[in-house]
């Protein structure tokens, strides 16, 4: 066990006791709790709900929100929705990639940052938008990127 608390997994499973079609909701809750879907959680769900592991993996790999890799201390989400795209989102993404030396979907080796791309956060008026740990940074310019990243240790 990589330090995940099996009781938390059980608690989440218990929330949905007896309901139909809950697997995606359950995995979303696990993702919210641990920031990723640890292997142990998948084993536990499979065991308790009698769902084949292959089925759970199929879902976990299909949906973008669900991640099978641990997430760094800070999650960066760069919006590349159409509005942010035409307002220079890709330049911001490039800057962050170069600064951190990682690609979309990756985590820095020191586990400081995970970088993800999202398609529209619904606040296009602020575009280009970068969300770090739930804090929205709006109208970001390439030269501001360095300063913003430095705020997160």
């Amino acid at each position: 066990m990589e330090g995940i608390d099996p009781n938390r997994v059980d608690e989440i499973i218990d929330r949905y006791r007896g309901e139909r079609g809950i697997l995606i909701q359950l995995l979303l809750d696990i993702q919210a709790e641990f920031n990723w879907i640890p292997r142990e959680a998948i084993m536990r769900i499979s065991e308790r709900l009698h769902i084949p592991k292959s089925h759970i993996y199929r879902i976990a790999t299909f949906y973008k929100t669900l991640s099978l890799n641990p997430v760094g201390r800070h999650l960066i989400q760069v919006c590349l929705g159409t509005a942010c795209q035409v307002r220079g989102g890709p330049k911001i993404m490039d800057r962050i990639k170069e600064s951190l030396g990682i690609n979309e979907g990756e985590t820095t080796p020191d586990m400081r940052f995970t970088l993800r791309r999202v398609n529209c956060l619904g606040c296009c008026a602020m575009g280009p938008v970068v969300v770090i740990d739930g804090i929205y940074h709006g109208k970001v310019t390439p030269s501001e990127v360095k300063g913003i990243l430095e705020c997160y240790k």
């Binding site: 139909r20 995606i24 909701q25 795209q85 490039d94 398609n119 956060l121 619904g122």
Partner: protein, 638 residues
């Protein structure tokens, strides 16, 4: 809260809520949608509460949903005067309360200034962005606190439901919606009444009704604003629809990226249950109905109807062939009706004010209003609700305030990844379902992304193909492989490696995808590419034949260059360049080492406006660097 058992009860409750709320009391409202929360609405709210408490003032404070004018949020309005302040900050609050709320003075600097006339406008309704809209669906967002059902009841909420349940049979409700010719707001524009009828008549029980709040179209957020700002309105429409169809269970599918929508909807459901708008024996009619929320886990294709229904079953949200209609076999293979958020939100209006009234708005085949999310290179980003048939020019210029930074309009993209671009020569086209389709685009969910001369049209086509390539579920070959090949071709065109015949090849692949794909993701996936080829053929040619990007966007086709006669040797670009590609010094003209340049554009961004020395060059060679000896600036520049 007591359960409400009849229309009479509901009217009585409305009266008592209104009586309790003395209208003579001053009221401050503050918008609190996602965008405004991100720009500091929470801090402003705290400041207001603290100040009211400190001064012990008898003022009502209400946090409302999104006003739609997100460009200028947070927006604070003071009633009864209706004075509207934009971009409010916490430090403005004491002044607002002392001067405006207490002494009725107007603070000029917080008002909207007309960019053309310089006139300041105090009333929200007079601001052009709002003035030219017809906000039948969105309008209530500014009047209510979405977390307080009493606010909704106070403005007549749930009375359409009461009318439907008490005065109308399910058949009559269905007829009314059919007569209104309400067309689906989520994509294809299919008549809602016909879909309801098919579900109603399909054999099999139970039946399900579903709200599609997946809103996968990147750049569109009207569904989010409705769900966050007025969830009861959507819910009321859904209950009415369930009654007409004969469904007793409903689902709301909300994308996970919209946490505030999920939260406000959850609260709304609880409150509706307490009053008896959900559950057993709704409003004493004997009709029974309840709803649960299903969060989407992030997959564009899961917004498609059959895919969404499989996702609700807890499976991988992939579409299936269209010959099995979801109205006959949807969730758990039972008859299911799916409609978009905005479609449902129109239903109470139709029931309350009648199909004839609804039909009086809009064009011949597209009735009512439509909400657009006007974004991109436009001055007033925000949500715009106008009658069907309004021209693009009115939307973009009258309401949207024209193009940012005085740039030139190039095209507007509608319909999201399934839609297309519309160039300047069609600005006077009336916007409705059929007209947009004729122009090679579509209505889609109402995203409207304005592009100026700085947008590369080939890059936009590549962007959508890239998006769809990522989102294609891979179940059918034409979509999976077609998109991949299209991406390869577009990638090489924007990289300056385009070949003769690439445009024809793109068109050919598009044809196959259109005919042979399994779901609408694939059949419409080529639209952005086809429409850009149709209207901007010369830009494709420039990329392929001249290796030139006319909009100066494509990284591989442009170079940054500092014009020696304009450089003021301010050191800004040199200090900011992340790859140390700029040589220079004090009073020494700066020069970019093209071999080190990574084309991040920071030098272009930071070069002071008075100098504007950095330029982008495409399609021709960069002038050789100035010899070292000529770089000294001797004369002071004026």
């Amino acid at each position: 809260m007591a359960r409400i058992r009849s229309k009479k009860d509901l009217l009585k409750l409305q009266e008592s809520i209104l009586a309790e709320r003395r209208v003579d009391k001053p009221l401050i409202t503050l918008c609190s949608g996602t965008a405004c929360c991100a720009t500091g609405s929470d801090a402003v709210a705290e400041a207001i509460k603290a100040e009211l408490k400190k001064q012990n003032l008898d003022v009502v404070f209400r946090r409302t949903g999104c006003h739609g004018f997100c460009e200028r949020g947070p927006i604070l309005t003071i009633y009864p005067q209706g004075i509207c302040y934009l971009n409010v900050k916490p430090e403005d609050i004491p002044e607002i309360i002392n001067r405006t709320v207490k002494s009725n003075e107007i603070i000029d600097r917080l008002l909207y200034t007309d960019p053309n006339t310089g006139k300041r406008i105090a009333k929200e309704s007079e601001i052009p962005f709002y003035k030219y809209q017809t906000r039948l669906v969105l309008g209530d967002n500014v009047r209510i606190d979405p977390r307080n059902i009493d606010d909704y009841i106070a403005i007549g909420g749930y009375q359409a439901l009461a009318k439907a349940l008490e005065d109308m049979t399910p058949e009559q409700v269905l007829e009314e919606v059919k007569k209104a010719n309400l067309r689906g707001r989520g994509g294809g524009g299919f008549p809602a009444g016909r879909k309801w009828e098919a579900t109603r008549n399909a054999p099999g029980e139970p039946k399900y009704v579903v709200v599609n709040c997946d809103e996968g179209d990147p750049g569109a957020y009207m569904d989010r604003s409705l769900m966050e700002g007025n969830p009861h309105r959507v819910l009321e429409g859904l209950i009415i629809g369930a009654y007409a169809i004969g469904a007793h269970h409903g689902f709301v599918y909300v994308r996970q990226e919209y946490p505030l929508a999920v939260k406000n909807l959850t609260i709304a459901l609880d409150q509706a249950r307490e009053y008896g708008f959900l559950g057993e024996d709704i409003l004493g009619s004997g009709f029974q109905f309840d709803v649960c929320i299903h969060r989407g886990a992030g997959a564009f294709v899961s917004g498609e109807s059959s895919a969404l229904m499989t996702a609700i079953e807890g499976k991988v949200g992939e579409p299936r062939p269209k010959y099995i209609h979801t109205s006959e076999s949807g969730i758990w293979e039972k008859p299911s009706d799916l409609n978009n958020v905005e479609t449902w939100a129109n239903v109470p209006l139709i029931i309350q004010r009648g199909a004839d009234w609804f039909r009086s708005i809009g064009t011949e085949h597209s009735k009512g209003t439509k909400i657009f999310s006007l974004v991109g290179a436009v001055n007033n980003t925000g949500l715009v609700e106008v009658p069907m048939g309004t021209t693009l020019r009115d939307i973009i210029y009258k309401i949207g305030g024209g193009i940012r930074d005085g740039k030139k309009f190039k095209a507007v993209q509608t319909g999201g990844p399934s839609g297309g671009v519309i160039p300047a020569q069609y600005l006077d086209a009336p916007v409705d379902f059929d007209e947009l389709t004729m122009l090679g685009s579509m209505m889609g969910s109402g995203g409207m992304i304005v592009m100026d001369e700085d947008t590369c049209i080939v890059d936009i086509a590549r962007y959508f193909v890239d998006f769809l390539c990522d989102e294609s579920c891979g179940k059918c070959v034409p979509c999976r492989e077609g998109l991949k090949r299209m991406r390869e071709i577009l990638d090489r065109i924007v990289a300056g490696r385009g070949r003769e015949g690439d445009i024809e090849l793109l068109k050919e692949i598009a044809q196959v995808m259109k005919r042979a794909s399994l779901c609408a993701l694939g059949t419409t996936a080529a639209n952005p590419t086809l429409s850009t080829i149709r209207y901007f053929h010369d830009e494709y040619e420039a990329h392929i034949k001249e290796m030139r990007c006319p909009a100066l966007v494509c990284k591989d086709l442009i170079s940054y260059y500092i014009q020696p006669d304009k450089c003021i040797a301010c050191l800004l670009c040199l200090k900011n360049c992340p790859s140390g590609a700029i040589e220079g010094g004090k009073r020494k003209i700066h020069v970019i080492d093209q071999t080190k340049c990574i084309k991040c554009g920071i030098c272009y961004e930071v070069c002071p406006p008075k100098a504007r020395a950095v330029v982008k060059i495409s399609g021709k060679p960069v002038p050789p660097p100035l010899p070292e000896s000529e770089r000294e600036i001797t004369k002071r520049k004026k």
